[in-house]
């Protein structure tokens, strides 16, 4: 795989090309871009047949080992790699250790062992075992195994351990990579960890760059440890990391960011020269019954929320599409009311329709980002998107507050009733929000 920067914007943002994939020589992936998140090798909720209706061009597939380790024996028998095995032979597979779509316990690293959180439970693996997997997965792009599960709040010791472990993992990965026939068509990516401690993080980068001749890019980890709390990082803090780390990485290496980041954070990363994102965010929305509905038109400001919660009763009789003028199959053929019905009845088609829309719309966010970089208007675009997201969060907080008030009023009423009915036999616990 080759990466070339085509154009740099006013800030650090840039348009790049990923080309030269050995298995699909004609494929060009334009960056900034997001990969499609997979589970068990398939784009979540979408069969190959349906995926064709969303994307006609080859896409990056994000393949975490944690949700696809069970493919190993089948892959060994088939011998042609994970994309082909999963019925997606024209797409580009990026393999990594963990998915960022599920919460996992923090820690559990031991010596040279890494915890792999699978549906069947925890599996401890070494760098060698990881590379054994990769030799049968044969991804186009391979993120080295790393101890990337630390948070920005972690202290010196945890960061030091993470960096130490990751550096030795990388040495082993590079060694195996150089010797491997099966991985000849694969590009290796170094993973930055220890992000919570500046010096340790830079030490890690230095070490990665020592292997520079064997690496096609770097990926940023070490921001979350898999827990809910660790995802609550202020955008300013992340911006600082995107900026300082981005600066010291050579421009000709493609920059990956792992993590379930919202549009505002993604815009910030793009502005500091980060190129590829892991695609967890649209999946998270889909699984919550939510639809992304950003307004890409810089000339209009809409008060509409940029994320619709289609579980909401307000859509019961709403026979409009998720988003007017959206070109996706879901918006062209189906209504908010229908999707709400599918969610209410827990029908699988709800996830299919939401995935189609969310993947399309999320991709459009990157298409527009590239267009604005090309026309030197990215800064305006970034502010436009960030503004919508911030407004959405603010409205959400207001809604939550009003819900809380409503609930407690209802509680009071119910409590009153209970007291009347029970003739003095007052229930003990009547507080809380239900």
């Amino acid at each position: 795989m080759r990466f070339a920067v085509k154009q740099v914007g006013c800030g650090g943002e840039r348009i790049g090309y990923l080309t030269g994939f050995v298995k699909s020589p004609n494929t060009v992936i334009e960056t900034p871009a997001a990969a499609l998140f997979t589970q068990g090798g398939s784009v979540v909720h979408l069969t190959a047949e349906v995926l064709c209706k969303v994307f006609t061009n080859p896409q990056l597939l994000w393949v975490p080992l944690s949700n696809s380790a069970q493919l190993e024996n089948g892959l060994k028998a088939q011998g042609q790699g994970v994309a082909k095995f999963a019925g997606l032979p024209n797409h580009i597979a990026c393999a990594t250790l963990h998915g960022n779509n599920e919460l996992t316990p923090p820690g559990h690293f031991e010596g040279n062992l890494v915890p792999l959180w699978t549906k069947q439970g925890k599996k401890m693996i070494t760098a060698d075992r990881y590379m054994d997997f990769m030799e049968v997965f044969k991804p186009d792009i391979l993120l080295a195994i790393a101890d990337g599960r630390s948070t920005l709040a972690d202290g010196y010791k945890r960061n030091q351990k993470a960096v130490e472990r990751t550096c030795s993992f990388l040495d082993r990965c590079v060694y195996r990579y150089k010797a491997s026939k099966a991985l000849r068509e694969t590009s290796l990516i170094g993973v930055i960890v220890g992000t919570g401690h500046r010096n340790k993080c830079f030490e890690c980068i230095k070490h990665i760059l020592k292997h520079g001749e064997h690496l096609s890019g770097i990926a940023l980890a070490g921001i979350t440890d898999g827990t809910e709390e660790s995802l609550q990082v202020p955008v300013q803090k992340l911006e600082e990391i995107f900026r300082t780390v981005g600066k010291v990485i050579p421009n000709d290496m493609v920059h990956f960011v792992e993590g379930c980041w919202n549009p505002e954070i993604i815009m910030t990363a793009i502005q500091h020269g980060w190129d590829v994102f892991d695609g967890t965010y649209p999946l998270k929305l889909t699984n919550a019954g939510q639809a992304l509905a950003l307004n890409f038109d810089l000339t209009t400001n809409k008060d509409d929320m940029c994320i619709l919660d289609l579980n909401d009763k307000r859509y019961k009789l709403d026979f409009g599409p998720i988003l007017k003028d959206c070109e996706c199959l879901t918006c062209k053929k189906h209504t908010r009311a229908y999707i709400r019905h599918l969610l209410e009845t827990r029908e699988m088609l709800s996830n299919v329709l939401l995935s189609i829309h969310n993947l399309h719309h999320f991709d459009q966010m990157f298409v527009h980002a590239r267009n604005h970089i090309a026309t030197k208007t990215f800064e305006v675009y970034k502010n436009h998107i960030s503004h919508q997201y911030r407004l959405y969060v603010k409205n959400l907080e207001n809604d939550l507050d009003s819900v809380k008030v409503k609930l407690s009023e209802k509680d009071i009423e119910q409590t009153k009733k209970k007291i009347c009915v029970s003739n003095g036999d007052v229930p003990k616990v009547v507080t809380g929000c239900g």
Partner: protein
């Protein structure tokens, strides 16, 4: 030969010279359906994760919705404002809805049946609800399916009390009259009466004759496929099809196993429905000519064949058994993939049946089919007997 009405016209295009099998075209307001036809069940206005265009690709021409479920969620208010179920779910081909009565008896322990209707407690909010023939038709008029079912008095097929069966059969006829009277859209929707009588020949005959005298566009055969022995099942099908008008379509409810489809087509049935192909897909079972593959089994872990070499569905073109084994019952995609294959299997079987009827080779096809399914030559007696009753003798190959 055939019948004509605005809401349904039926033309028999080819008849088997040996058995009662026939191939025809059933013209419905939303689609022209080729019979014999299998109708997949999309209970709540969706087919197990598949897009309407995928169903079209699979050559589904008519699918089922369940009145009871749809009446509760999304509810008639939503369906009415949406302009009917076709528009709500974005399905432009034909639809059929059941009456809602069966769900009440199968799902609800608290159902109480009186002359007025079926009284039950809603599982959604525990309120008492009365489903009358009029109410059932009102909901079905709102859903707007091409074919709708009368409310029938459902008794479990294996039930033994003659008096109760007699009551139910006769009440079904009385309820049919009420349904027909309540029907508000006769030029767009056809009510099918349901032949009842369980396993009693006399009652079933009476039921069929009662229904025959009514101005209806087709008939359903109910009260079967509910756990009775096959030896009891097929004579009731045969009795019903023997009595029912040749010019109108006959729909056997709740039957969908491949062998049952083949036999019942030979006995003169035109339409079938069953949840089996999609339900079994969820548990990782894929249908093939000789039965089914349980893809969860370890033996498929490294099996690089498609589910079925002869199948041209998108699942068999793109995926191996080994891959499906690795994701089955874990990823929703596995369920979609097997559902696609299983529906394709049913559709291909019906297409093969129609082709053979048209070519005049139906008896030979049945022979081949039965021999393939029971390759050891150990044919169950009900298969031999049912087929010989319509002149097809099975020859061991």
């Amino acid at each position: 030969m055939g019948s004509k009405s605005l809401a349904l016209s039926f033309h028999v295009q080819a008849e088997c010279k040996t058995s009662r099998a026939r191939a025809g075209i059933m013209k419905l307001p939303h689609y022209e359906v080729k019979t014999p036809v299998f109708m997949p069940v999309g209970t709540q206005g969706t087919m197990k994760g598949l897009l309407p265009e995928q169903l079209e690709c699979l050559d589904c021409e008519i699918i089922l919705g369940n009145t009871y479920h749809l009446g509760n969620r999304p509810g008639t208010d939503v369906l009415e404002k949406a302009g009917g179920l076709h528009k709500f779910m974005s399905w432009n081909r034909a639809l059929l809805t059941d009456s809602g009565g069966f769900q009440m008896v199968s799902l609800l322990k608290l159902a109480e049946i009186t002359e007025e209707g079926v009284k039950f407690k809603s599982p959604y909010d525990n309120s008492e609800i009365m489903l009358t023939p009029e109410k059932s038709i009102e909901i079905q008029n709102c859903i707007g399916a091409d074919i709708i079912m009368q409310l029938d008095d459902v008794v479990q097929t294996t039930f033994q009390d003659y008096d109760r069966i007699k009551e139910a059969t006769e009440r079904t006829s009385r309820w049919l009259d009420r349904c027909l009277k309540a029907h508000k859209r006769p030029s767009e929707q056809s009510i099918f009466p349901i032949v009842q009588g369980l396993l009693d020949r006399e009652l079933r005959e009476k039921s069929a004759r009662d229904h025959m005298s009514k101005d209806v566009n087709g008939f359903a055969i109910g009260g079967l496929s509910g756990g009775e022995a096959k030896d009891e099942f097929w004579p009731m099908v045969s009795l019903s099809t023997g009595l029912l008008d040749k010019n109108r379509p006959r729909y056997l409810m709740g039957v969908g196993l491949a062998i049952d489809l083949v036999i019942c087509v030979a006995l003169g049935v035109d339409m079938f429905d069953c949840v089996y192909p999609t339900r079994t897909a969820r548990f990782g079972c894929a249908l093939i000519n000789t039965g089914q593959l349980n893809l969860r089994q370890k033996q498929y872990e490294t099996d690089l064949n498609p589910i079925d070499d002869d199948c041209s569905c998108s699942t068999c073109r793109n995926y191996t058994r080994a891959y499906l084994h690795a994701i089955v019952t874990v990823e929703t995609v596995a369920c979609h993939l097997i559902s696609v294959h299983n529906i394709a299997f049913q559709m291909r079987l019906m297409q093969t049946i129609r082709d053979n009827i048209e070519r005049g080779t139906f008896p030979q096809f049945v022979n081949k089919f039965v021999n393939e399914l029971y390759s050891n030559g150990d044919f169950p007696p009900w298969i031999i007997n049912s087929l010989s009753s319509v002149g097809i003798s099975i020859v061991k190959k």
